[in-house]
Symmetry: C2
Subunit: 393 residues, 2 copies
């Protein structure tokens, strides 16, 4: 008789965003005329840039002619895209990578989830609370022991290691989802030193790096000395270039991380060549176009658009005297709601027609907080904030 | 100190096809003028059909306009594609599926590898020998006990369960990779009855179903009575529509498989919503076009082209009196080489400039056998067979 993975019993019943979608749907069915503005899920609304679309069309055409058709590509991605990502890192962060350290994928969510396969079940995982639910769920699925480190108003939702911190795998997300808080270089250095000292690995989620405007803040963990021997970085084109529905991300595994003489880079290569068959050629050509100077300028315009929305939300909260983090170097605004998060969710939905994300969905420390995102249109964000102001003034 | 997944130590050093590629590359570097014809990896060479390319271009354009832009889609795929796959099953196999049973993905390799996450490590896995290496490697990575069932000349490389067969998870691949052998309905019924009796799950790989020409042979395991309570089916557009570089597949998990009251369908949904973010919208539109009547007719023409190549190879082997399976309902020809498989690999490469795949790369029972594929061009296949004939006559 086949035995199931019993760790699934320890998962919370439904994935956070699916749960929110269901709640909105039910409300809409009961109130068909309700005009709901979604400042909830972190999905983008701006279309792909012209440069990217042209690259996608060109690659599609190539696939239709025998001379330019492409079959299986390398599982870790095409050299043309690895090269562009390498240049991007150099330009954007000053970090020098080798092509063999860059693994192209269908997105950071897959890689963040799958990467933990390389580790034994018997490891302690340090996860900040609140945080993106995928870190927690994928480790619960593997039956690993999880230790939460608390984010709160006192530490600006940027927890740091102290004397009591013990663990083998550390998740960090900066700019953070959901709080929008960003670690400084000095703060990240504390984590890197901790990891190198303990022989721990940092899984660094940089999905929102392109929203950083403050040049003193690190956009990659590899800007920090010592990170090459202890950190893996996940990044995505979802927010950088509006690829949430186009699916492309990349993971940086330095050649320098050796664990008892075993290369983590080679293990990930083996995992990917065995259980993955690469990202679609067409999509990789689209991704390549993101990193050209013309392509990146177009993406930056979209990012600026969302940054303006974040400002609209932030200034409303400022006016109302509501405490929050994020909104400057991040598309997320994390506000203190002074009541149960789901209660606030229902209040906003029912009284203002605004859908947001309850902080408690991101962990225990998120209760009493609420996430709004800057990804809707300017017009809808303004309208939502007019309603918000009316409700709380 | 972080602990690695020690099961990786039990993997063979390199993935089969990567190993072959390296060997060919080394030979080519030593012999720059060598004209090597690859009848090795199962990659297609015919371009995407016009219908598919047009759909990809149209979807690319849609992504460039705010009104038609798509962000995150459901992880399990768009309804428009699930609907087409549902219709395809009805038309092609007579099997009636629910949309909720169809999970769209970036390809069967990912799904076959990831699906075993749903099962406990403590299960015995039955794997036919020889077989596609991904089944073995992904279970070694999880530390599961593997039992091999022997394919050989006597059983036509179609092993069946007997009194001594014991196991919880059974991999079947029909038409088989690498042997090209296809189970009959009666043979598959023996496996389905075995699984239902033992409480085992069959993981059925149908990636080559579109090559079946004999209408009495099953193209889906769900054509077999009782399969809905014990089988999961993986399929791919790689060979059906030349999607090896375009990446789209699908997995069928019937609602009827319940294990101790737990739905395998709901577990897979949870796995996919947690660790996957769906297949690119553009690619799903391309896949949709495969299943329209015009689109499918175009794909069938390409399949016929490869089937002609298979015939060219088969008739050469017939002429030389070499024993083989496959080649009729499959793009693979599995021949008896009467020597060590890697020795035959070197012989073919060095004396005829033909790259094939050593049978031993697919398992112990594959030694003494060799795989050729029908995926090259007609011209190159003919040229390869001229050289082959000259070598062995």
């Amino acid at each position: 008789m086949v035995k199931l993975n019993k760790n699934y019993n320890n998962l919370k019943k439904s994935y956070l965003f699916a749960g929110i979608a269901r709640r909105i749907k039910e409300y809409k069915e009961a109130n068909p005329s309700a005009d709901i503005i979604k400042l909830s899920i972190g999905d983008v609304t701006r279309p792909l840039t012209k440069t990217v679309v042209e690259a996608l069309e060109k690659a599609s055409k190539e696939m239709g002619a025998a001379e330019t058709f492409r079959g299986y590509g390398d599982e870790q991605g095409y050299a043309f895209l690895q090269e562009q990502i390498k240049n991007y890192y150099k330009r954007n962060t000053g970090v020098q990578l080798e092509s063999s350290e860059i693994f192209v994928s269908d997105g950071a969510k897959s890689d963040v989830g799958n990467f933990t396969e390389l580790f034994d079940t018997d490891n302690t995982v340090i996860i900040p609370d609140p945080v993106y639910p995928v870190y927690v769920d994928s480790n619960i699925m593997n039956g690993r022991h999880i230790v939460y480190i608390e984010g709160n108003e006192a530490n600006g939702f940027l927890p740091l290691p102290d004397q009591n911190t013990k663990g083998d795998i550390i998740y960090l997300c900066s700019p953070n989802n959901p709080t929008g808080a960003v670690y400084t270089k000095d703060q990240l250095k504390l984590w890197v030193d901790f990891a190198n000292k303990q022989g721990a690995v940092i899984l660094f989620d940089a999905a929102y790096e392109s929203f950083i405007t403050d040049d003193t803040l690190p956009r990659s963990i590899f800007e920090i000395e010592g990170a090459r021997t202890c950190a893996v970085e996940f990044c995505s084109l979802s927010k950088t270039a509006g690829f949430t529905g186009t699916r492309c991300g990349y993971t940086i595994v330095p050649e320098d991380i050796m664990i008892n003489g075993v290369s983590l880079n080679k293990m990930w290569l083996r995992r990917q060549t065995t259980k993955f068959n690469g990202t679609a050629y067409i999509i990789q050509r689209g991704a390549e176009a993101v990193f050209t100077s013309e392509g990146y300028a177009g993406c930056k315009e979209n990012i600026k658009y969302y940054q303006e929305n974040a400002k609209i939300i932030a200034s409303t909260l400022d006016k109302l005297g509501i405490w929050y983090t994020g909104g400057i170097n991040s598309p997320y605004i994390w506000l203190k709601c002074n009541m149960d998060s789901w209660e606030f969710f229902d209040l906003l939905l029912q009284k203002a027609g605004i859908a947001g994300t309850p902080g408690s969905g991101f962990g225990k420390c998120g209760d009493g907080y609420f996430r709004l995102t800057a990804f809707n249109t300017k017009e809808k964000t303004e309208e939502a904030m007019r309603r918000f102001e009316k409700l709380f003034i």
